[in-house]
Symmetry: D2
């Protein structure tokens, strides 16, 4: 078995750790773990001989399986479970012929495959949890550090009003926290055993089904569901869709950073990567990885949901479509998460440039503030006309909006000198920014780990 679990074409769509979580080795090991745990549970309950369980455990050694052959053979039955079980049986046959018949006793393909997939997902979840903690910590840190760093708030990519970078980072933090809370709940919820036998009744185990189910779940560290879920995929679907929401949140952070990193804006920059031909460039490489994931994942979510209409007790195709989608979704989400954690952790913030970009508007972003001050006295139409005139003068002349305002008597007479002097002070027009920021940071601090 090869240790390389990443394809070149997909290498930005995963991380090395996540590729390992869904590698051939990991999946096959999880399938063998199921078969061994099943045999042991059945031996404990008295369904099969103890010796059979031991022989099965002894035979289930990863290095004795030919992965490529299993992949080829899977096509005939539309599942890798059959060639894996056949191969395990053959291995047992070699060391204890009489026990071979007890391999996979009373189980069905979906039992072993779904349970193994749940185990791979669990491993992926632990990787994501660590990266999420890293992201949370970095976001909290920069939000606190920049509680007083003023910058332009931008709507529709146009300057709107000042905000603080601390608030912006706290917004990212809040969305990440909420998105992870849902995803981690979905990860927990998905940690259930699949065990139902051929049609979901455990008929082959007669009166012993429930006892075996209980023992098997304990051995594997999984919960026992109300019933086998072979044709009801809502838990996995929720896992996939929760990745979709989190990937979207991560993509939003990455998009913001990539926009702040534009040369013409220059307010923040990720450590970034080089260019194959341009020596002067510093590219938002981490943002690119995260945005790429946020572009791909929604389609993967759609693919999963489209396949939920499983026919009767096992579908023709719906089930078969899930594996690649689940693996791709978790890997893409985790790749985005790892990248965004790196981006935020290494983010260069240029507070001077942030302030300078506000100043570069000459203060016309405070036109709303001016309007609110004078409209009660002048009425909407008159006030609007005067403010528009001031904005235009400031823009055309390059003079500070504040000065232009001071030079228009109809406006200036309504304002105190102090109101004029502080008209374009960003700190004087932040509203409840700091309250919002502290609320978001506090909420994130209440997070509980996976």
């Amino acid at each position: 078995m090869t240790p390389i679990s990443t394809h070149l074409l997909d290498c930005l769509a995963t991380t090395d750790a996540l590729a390992s979580a869904f590698s051939d080795a990991a999946l096959l090991q999880a399938m063998l773990d199921f078969e061994v745990a099943l045999a042991r549970a059945q031996a404990r309950v008295g369904v099969i001989p103890a010796r059979a369980a031991e022989s099965i455990a002894n035979a289930a050694r990863l290095d004795r399986f030919d992965v490529h052959q299993i992949a080829l053979d899977a096509r005939a039955s539309a599942t890798i479970a059959i060639p894996v079980v056949d191969a395990l049986r053959a291995r047992v046959e070699e060391i204890d012929a009489g026990s071979a018949c007890y391999v996979h006793w009373g189980a069905t393909s979906q039992d072993v495959f779904d349970t193994a997939l749940v185990q791979c997902v669990g491993q992926a979840g632990r990787i994501l949890d660590a990266d999420h903690a890293r992201l949370t910590s970095a976001l909290t840190r920069i939000s606190q550090a920049h509680a007083n760093t003023v910058m332009l708030g931008r709507t529709l990519l146009q300057p709107a009003l000042p905000i603080t970078f601390g608030l912006k980072a706290a917004g990212w933090l809040g969305a990440s926290t909420r998105s992870w809370a849902r995803l981690s709940a979905a990860l927990l919820d998905a940690r259930v055993l699949q065990f139902g036998g051929a049609a979901g009744t455990l008929a082959a185990l007669g009166a012993n089904g429930l006892a075996v189910e209980q023992a098997l779940a304990e051995d594997l560290g999984l919960a026992v569901p109300d019933a086998p879920w072979h044709a009801h995929r809502d838990r996995l679907a929720t896992l996939v869709t929760s990745c979709g929401v989190y990937a979207g949140t991560l993509g939003k952070i990455a998009r913001d950073v990539s926009l702040l990193m534009q040369d013409e804006v220059g307010e923040a920059a990720e450590p970034g990567g080089g260019s194959s031909t341009l020596p002067h460039k510093r590219n938002p490489a981490g943002c690119a990885v995260a945005i790429a994931a946020a572009i791909r994942v929604p389609g993967l979510v759609s693919a999963f949901l489209s396949g939920m209409l499983h026919e009767h007790e096992r579908s023709v195709g719906g089930w078969h479509a899930e594996g690649p989608t689940i693996a791709a979704t978790l890997q893409a989400t985790g790749s985005a998460l790892s990248s965004v954690a790196d981006v935020i952790d290494g983010l260069d913030v240029d507070a001077d440039r942030m302030r300078a970009n506000i100043a570069a508007t000459h203060g016309v972003v405070f036109a709303e503030k001016l309007t609110m001050l004078i409209v009660p006295q002048l009425g909407r139409e008159k006030a609007g006309a005067l403010v528009t005139q001031a904005v235009r003068q400031s823009r055309d002349s390059g003079r500070a909006f504040r000065e232009v305002v001071a030079s228009i008597p109809e406006i200036a007479r309504l304002l105190t000198p102090d109101q004029i002097a502080s008209l374009d002070a960003p700190e004087a027009y932040l509203g409840s920014a700091e309250t919002f920021r502290t609320r978001l940071v506090a909420a994130a601090g209440r997070r509980t780990p996976l």
Copy 2:
């Protein structure tokens, strides 16, 4: 304003009630409700004159707005909020000119639109809740009634083993219950006020922002979020994705029913609909509506998630893409829910045909049972060969599998007469079906309403 809120082309994609929840009238009313509540909250806090609040409330009468004109005007600013606010201001101007300037005081387009959308969503949620209760009740009833009704479990559309129809219905119930639990949580979670002003800081309200926020939220019956969520759409995204999971669950139920309703299967039938040309037909019309929704919704989910990468404090396009998607998703999900509730409530179950379809296999579906009985003595290869021979003989001759088995001495000698006699008794091979069923029904009973 027209009372017709459904388009012919979309009429299966919604219900009349849900179409009303997102109708022009409902949306516009919710926008006006926001503006009136905002003015009242501001008057209470002392931000604007009490008289202004009253005039705004008096002017905000639905029948005085030209919906078509608003729709046309929206294009210029990429939001209906601006023409709605302009029209409201004009109405106030007519009755109290001095108060017109206080319309929409300190708020932004997204405040009024998002909050109004949340209110429409809330109304849709109440409609779904009622239909979900109806579905739950019907599923519980048929599951209990058919606890002992045996039928074929089918995997990959082939006969597998017997199950009970009660278990099958309980599986539908379990998935519906879990899906609704998530969706109803998402509906609750989405009931938050949007109120942040131009850049999400409530700067225009100075020190009064938080007091106004609190009063406004109370008036509208919405929760106060940690911070405005203008650029963080994870709550709405979760709402949409939860619809996706529920729609998939509903589609699965509908697909199962449509398959059971095939003339060649004939085990269950929805009340159904007629054909435009074929007098003998009874079509699974309700299933068709639900499956159509389950086909459409995943793409809508994908569309929502794709748009989550909002730039900075308000996006160029991402926000603008959401409205149609949210409305379409909730309506399609609710249309499916209403249809499936009708289908299950009126389901004709043919228990005799269910049993007959098991019998029509001649009992070869019990081949697994036979294998489990003889494989420990004969070993896998020998047992497998004999069972395969028996299956083939039964299929070729049309004789009962049980009789064929009895006629093969190498098998028969290993079985008691009772084992042979009950070999093809469905009731004798149901495993833990009834336990699974009762667990699922019990879990559904613990549901809490919206």
Copy 3:
């Protein structure tokens, strides 16, 4: 019937003209047109009495149908065709009872609905064609006008090398032209009659089926397909996916414009729209509409494709899912197209700012050019180190890259004075930009209309 065909929630997702193309009136009219043309074709061939055809034509008056009732009734049979045909029959009954039975003679629901939908699509296609011509013309014009306008090429949102705005516009033009060529081909390809009767054999018409098919197609101006396509939706699917590609192309143009329009970039601006609260703002409203469409359409495409697995001769749900998707896709694409045509047609281009933004890099974007000049003599490592040093010096000091280069003897001695002097001249480093531009414009000029 109401003349308002746009919902407020969807009003950016369509244009007034496209909303009309898929309005209740348009769809119902097209359905009546089918029934009238069918009756006339059958009368001509001798299948039904001539008098029946006339009575049907007389009864088929739009204003005599209750759209809301049809929408409500559709639910029972999962198609509007049945209530429409029933209503038409009732209208005929009123004026000529004996002819009522000839309404919809030998046809099926899908015949009338699919054919009507194809007619609505045709009307939408004509609207798109006109807007595409408008866009093509505007793009050609600005590409020609700005053949020599230099600007920054930007990769990963970072300054790369100079290009011309003429080339950039020509790139938009090329992609639009190719995307429209495919979409217009798909529109043509989709203009086929649906006519197959209950199971696609025209059995009810005996030997007259093909003659009626031919006459009906001629009357409706549609092509005759090889066979009815009731369960094979590849033509419509291609129409929808071609919209997807075109919408993506339009979204790319809009995204570029919205980025150029950033205050900090300021190179181009659409006429734009205002803000509800910020008097200083000019928003990329047209871009927002187009990007919103480009966000939504991929999910709609996915929804259509997911539904293609129609069961046998008419699906349970797959067919029923199509209508809303087709209508939404064409309207969203057309809305984007209309917006982008407006945006480009009214685009303010600031050539000075474009040049200034190159200059603002101090010329470090010419580092590649310098590298190519010196690397053959110095080798890669040495050359790289020197260029990096020059870039850093220029960035740190704010001195022109050209001057820094001149001050580093190891570099300067390898260059002629002219090479140094023109090092940062944008016009001297445009490569084949103009050839590429003229090729693209020429290819667009070869376009043939719908």
Copy 4:
């Protein structure tokens, strides 16, 4: 480098041949091919020394590259192009230090990656072409063989009217033929060189850009586009969407076969696969593989289209998202194609069961035929009532519909004995089925190869 190119989790989502087409080896080889061809083209045009081209060609040996390391390094720059080029340069350095600087001369990451991807796509296209030819041939054969095999046409999964299996197969053939025609055109259209340098102008090559472009394209067997397409992805998008349409068509065929293969229908069966626990089962394994692909591909299409909004001259994320999607789409489509070709090629058709299933309706599927015969004399209401009565009597009693009809004087008196006798003869109610069939087969015969 490992020869295993398939992951276990994805092994049904590709074929061995297609996995090879997108394997690490194939992609890396295609990238090296680009760099070698570029050097040779540049040497020919005189841009770089001939010796450099030879050294680069000598160094570009696949087995000297560490794929895993490249995958790890790619993350820093968000592209594998940089580590690949760096590694190639190091290999050249080892054998001819002076030539190392000419590696990747004037090219950019996207040039080498996009062109290599196009080459992998080309190889995949050849594989699909062969499988499509196999499918076409098998479909044509079974359509011809079953031109006269009557079976039930089924709408909404209910019996509608008789059709022929030959027509059904021809419908599959027609849709496959049309879908492939579009996909093969898109494959051809996508075979264009990507070569534009850092910003798409070939600036680094000065006056030699176009000559190098021409020579490079010739060497690689690719067309020269009007201009580099680094930020305009409509050709690839059309390739992906055309796969989407074809996958949908293949999924429809597979769904039909899986439904025909139900034990209760039993009209056709694929060779199929076994079960891990049920010895009596024959599963539609090939159909499952194809349907799984048809479920996944629409989401992949959506992912591609969502990413088309590339910013300026190279996107942040949009480009980076494409590789996995293109590879997964072509592989899934090809996997479905290969499976469906196998399914059709080995299809067991049970013509007797087809006829028997018509008979099992007792002839009520001919109710439409009867209606058409009597409605002109009796009027719609009376005729409808009588036919409904006859259908009900036949259903309740199990008597043949024909006999029931003969026993109802009000109907029987309107029919000739011959009309009654042939009322339920499937062959007498096939309408234009055979014409439609032959038209479809003829159209498929006109197909031209890739």
